[in-house]
Amino acid sequence: MTARTATESSTRLTVDVWADVLCPWCYLGEHRLQAAIERSGLADRIDVSVHTFELAPHAGAEVVPALEYLAAEKGVSAGRARAMERHMADLAAAEGLPYAIDRPVANSNDMLRLVHLGAEHGRGWAYLRAMQAAVFSGDHRSFEPATLIRLGGELGIPADRIRDVLESDRYAAAVRADRARALELGARGVPFTVLGGRLGIPGAVGTAEYAAAIEQAWEQVNG
């Protein structure tokens, strides 16, 4: 990492991240991005701006096991789904992350709308990651209002605001707009990460690649 100088003291780097709560590669990629930020020596100069990307807007509201969902909704064979999930679980385990193959899956629109509420409180990124932690650890109550209120409450988001969102369609337009914006910017893979408004990373990469991108973007914003 390039040594910071006095002239850089006011410079900040924005990292825009588009993700869905239910997206395995977002779960893994965000963990790696966060690790890269913490190791960069620039954590206090980096602002993560979370945006939603709804991957399955037509998914049903009923909670079903992930393997069943992949077979029924996405046409993925049971064998392939199991193999993919086992591979993802191995990758997650290597990074100390829980990853339940039989985790719950349902429509994520409520969760994504709550990410927008969280962002209004400066906790969108943290709220997204808290919901992911619940889902990927296999908590089948992850989608329940009580769970979403508890997770938000732990981040300082008022329960009445969360209930208001869940009982309305608030932020639905924002979820659609975020998705459209990512596609407009060339997101051909989710998660989609843009550093300094200039460098885009479609999909998840390793911690080292995120670290290199942070360094490159930091040099650009100081250039």
């Binding site: 924005t14 825009d16 869905d20 997206c23 395995p24 590669w25 977002c26 954590a43 980096i46 602002d47 993560v48 701006s49 979370v50 945006h51 990307f53 991957l55 399955a56 996405k74 046409g75 993925v76 064979s77 049971a78 064998g79 392939r80 199991r82 193999a83 993919m84 086992r86 591979h87 993802m88 962002a119 209004e120 409180h121 400066g122 906790r123 969108g124 990124w125 998705r179 914006r181 990512a182 407009e184 910017l185 060339g186 997101a187 051909r188 893979g189 989710v190 998660p191 843009v194 408004g197 200039r198 460098l199 885009g200 990373i201 479609p202 999909g203 998840a204 990469v205 390793g206 991108a213």
Partner: protein, 54 residues
């Protein structure tokens, strides 16, 4: 750490580094690199959507 700012205006330069994996924005299907061997235990691979490598 701020949470929400205006996203980039002009399209960003996409980094050429190969993604380890991603979820397809159009289909919502999450794919793995073909080199993972994840298909080896799949008895139904012929009927499944292609797993691609970028």
């Amino acid at each position: 750490m701020a949470d929400r700012t205006a996203a980039t205006d002009p399209p960003p330069h996409l980094i050429a580094a190969e993604a380890e994996g991603y979820c397809d924005p159009d289909t919502g299907i999450c794919v793995l690199p073909a080199s993972t061997g994840a298909d080896e235990t799949d008895p139904d691979a012929q009927a499944a959507p292609a797993t691609t490598e970028r």
